[in-house]
């Protein structure tokens, strides 16, 4: 086809599709635009950079930026800076944590609570995920998942208040126990580590359930059938086949739930009692106090951030070792 014929054919197509008349059609025919597009798509590397720049900017400004700012504040002796006050670099805020045992208790309590609640969430959600992935027909799975998602349509505070209604002295649980004649006086469930645990497990269950469901759903049924053919009982099949092959889901779910649990603030405040003070509450105390305490709060938040990361890394290493051990 000659150039003239090709040009005529293009014009015919443009006329037919309306490309030449629409905004985008005109833009794509505009020579500066074509030159720009040619420039940015000249190489795959350049294309990658162009595509990566917006997500990178987002992560840097919205995720890393505030954290870096927090670390910066934690290394100063005054923030917000009052008029006439000069800000200095200091490590005193970190020294305050390591030098005063008062703060160790809520710190370790938070890590122990987070670990315990993560384990409880795993134990409670694994059977649900197993049932969903293995015993619910594929066409009903989405419906079940949707049902499980419904509580997450409302915020953390509303769901926490739902737990208060459930566990209060005049709440549903005490009412049922009283109606059944099992108790004369209400059991004080609220403002204890139990009520806090119920709240946190309820709030984080979905973060555990989804990775578990995903791992279980990918597991071919034939593996269990083969194990059964070889004489393995239900418990052995679960222990030797299902559990090792879903360890990736367990690892992801536990990591998510643990990290989220270490940072919960509103739930411990609303559901916890005098003996359940978490590190998040201690940190918040520094930001609430009217005075120059923000740098200490920022330092404590940084300490918890790195402690949680280190523990998560250790946990991931353990999981990896377990996985490798099983595949040997």
């Amino acid at each position: 086809m000659s150039n003239e014929a090709a040009s005529r054919a293009t014009q015919d197509v443009d006329a037919h599709t309306g490309v030449g008349r629409t905004f985008w059609g005109r833009l794509s025919n505009w020579s500066p635009y074509r030159a720009l597009m040619g420039l940015v798509t000249a190489s795959p590397r350049r294309q990658f950079l162009i595509l990566a720049i917006f997500p990178l900017l987002w992560v840097l400004t919205q995720h890393l930026g505030p954290m870096l700012q927090m670390v910066r504040v934690s290394l100063t002796d005054a923030y917000p800076v009052a008029p006439g006050v000069e800000q200095h670099f200091t490590l005193d805020n970190y020294a305050r944590f390591f030098g005063d045992q008062i703060f160790w208790q809520p710190f370790f309590r938070t890590l122990i609570f987070a670990g315990g609640f993560t384990f409880c969430t795993l134990i409670l959600t694994y059977p649900v995920a197993y049932f969903l992935a293995r015993h619910v027909s594929r066409k009903n799975q989405m419906l079940f998942l949707l049902l499980l998602l419904i509580p997450f349509w409302v915020g953390e505070i509303v769901r926490t208040y739902a737990i208060m209604i459930l566990l209060g002295n005049t709440g549903a649980l005490n009412l049922v126990l009283k109606t059944l004649g099992l108790i004369d006086r209400p059991i004080p469930f609220m403002y204890t580590s139990f009520s806090m645990g119920v709240g946190i497990v309820y709030l984080t269950a979905l973060y555990m359930l989804l990775p578990l469901y995903s791992a279980l759903e990918k597991l071919p049924r034939s593996y269990n059938e083969a194990a059964a053919d070889l004489g393995a009982g239900a418990w052995t099949r679960f222990r030797r086949v299902t559990l090792p092959l879903t360890i990736e889901g367990i690892s992801s779910g536990c990591t998510l739930v643990f990290l989220i649990s270490t940072g919960f603030y509103a739930t411990p405040v609303l559901l916890g009692g005098p003996s359940t003070t978490t590190f998040a509450e201690t940190i918040a105390g520094f930001f609430h106090v009217a005075g120059d305490q923000w740098p200490t709060g920022a330092a404590f938040a940084t300490i918890m951030f790195f402690a949680a990361l280190v523990l998560t890394a250790v946990f991931q290493k353990l999981m990896n070792a377990l996985r490798k051990g099983d595949t040997k």
């Binding site: 917000p80 004080p188 105390g285 009217a290």
Partner: protein, 368 residues
């Protein structure tokens, strides 16, 4: 004035509101069509909804209320925003003035711009705490006190005559209090000065006393059901019968009494502290003119003061506001003379010493 909306059960009675409507139009007409906005940080129920709507309709000034529940949070928020704050009016308790003033967070109150300043009871507008460095710093609106609140179905009036009941084995797991406020009260219980004025020249003794109080609170920790922060929390705990008695501010307790809950308050014999909430203009407030218009409108009639009492449960500082309260509301906002004799006001002079010792004590008690 026909745009009033009666959307709150506890809010103004028709008669009182009619009075307010009659009392304020002359003032509000002057401000009509001023426009713009005014940004206010205040506690829940301190700005009556009907007054806010009426003010907006009459002046064209949009009132943006941001609820706060703590003096320290306000201080930190404002300190972070200065010198360009987003707030015009904030709510500072009289005994916390100094801290805000020393950090240049408040503008002196120009009372000449408030034609209704004389409608405040002079007990509050002219008392010694309200004038610092020769200036007024806030418009007193409500006064409150630290009280012992108790469920009358479970606790007797005799038991409520002493703070000891709050720490008794009998009510183990049925009490609640705000730690910081309780520290001052326990100091009174033990015969010390919770304002720290007596220890101004002896910081060592102040530290020893605070260590003793801290130890006492830690020992009594197994008896308490909940350390709380906001008035709404203790209201909920009483309603859910999670607690039988607790330390509270009189406002939230009075609101429950007015709702018919079997609750009563006392100022125990060991004593307690009172405080006054004031509305203040922030330094460099972006809408200072609108802030003064709002404050003057708020002071324009005692019915508005009564409405604030009805909504918040705290006692109005306005002259003659009590006559617009029902008998139950009067009862819930008044105390016998012999109990009032046990009351003293929080003072600010030694706040640096006081909070320098108290804040770490609070952390220690929580962490223990």
């Amino acid at each position: 004035m026909s745009k009033l909306i009666f959307n709150r059960r506890r809010f103004l009675g028709t008669a009182a509101m009619t009075g307010a409507a009659l009392a304020s139009p002359a003032y509000l007409r002057r401000a009509h069509a001023q426009g713009g906005e005014v940004n206010i940080w205040t506690y829940n129920d301190f700005v009556p909804e009907a007054f806010k709507e009426q003010f907006e309709a009459e002046t064209g000034i949009k009132v943006n209320v941001r609820l706060v529940d703590d003096q320290g949070k306000q201080f930190n928020l404002l300190a972070a925003e200065q010198p360009n704050p987003s707030v015009d009016i904030m709510t500072v308790a009289g005994h916390r003035f100094l801290q805000f003033i020393e950090s240049d967070l408040l503008a002196p109150m120009d009372t000449d711009r408030l034609s209704n300043w004389d409608k405040i009871n002079p007990t509050f507008s002219e008392s010694d705490w309200s004038t610092i460095n020769g200036n007024k710093w806030g418009v007193p609106i409500l006064s409150g006190m630290e009280v012992l609140s108790y469920n009358t179905d479970l606790v007797t009036a005799e038991e409520a005559q002493t703070w000891d009941t709050l720490f008794s084995e009998k009510y183990k797991g049925q009490t609640a209090y705000i730690i910081q406020d309780m520290l001052s009260i326990v100091m009174l219980m033990k015969g010390y000065d919770g304002n720290f004025i007596e220890y101004a020249d002896d910081h060592e003794k102040a530290a020893e006393i605070m260590a003793e109080i801290q130890q006492f609170m830690i020992e009594k920790k197994p008896l308490v059901r909940k350390y709380y922060d906001s008035g709404a929390e203790i209201q909920q705990m009483f309603v859910n019968q999670d607690i039988a008695l607790g330390h509270s501010w009189n406002g939230p307790a009075a609101a429950l009494i007015n709702d018919g809950f079997p609750l009563a308050m006392s100022i125990p014999q060991e004593g307690s502290y009172g405080f006054v909430y004031t509305l203040n203009v922030a330094n460099n407030a972006p809408n200072a003119d609108n802030a003064y218009t709002f404050l003057d409108a708020m002071l324009s009639s005692p019915e508005i003061g009564a409405a604030m009492t009805k909504a918040s449960g705290f006692i109005s500082t306005y002259k003659d506001s009590a006559q617009y309260l029902t008998d139950l509301e009067k009862k819930s906002t008044s105390f016998p003379e012999e109990q009032l004799a046990n009351l003293q006001f929080f003072r600010a002079e030694e706040n640096e010493l006081k909070y320098g010792l108290m804040d770490p004590a609070v952390e220690a008690i929580k962490a223990a």
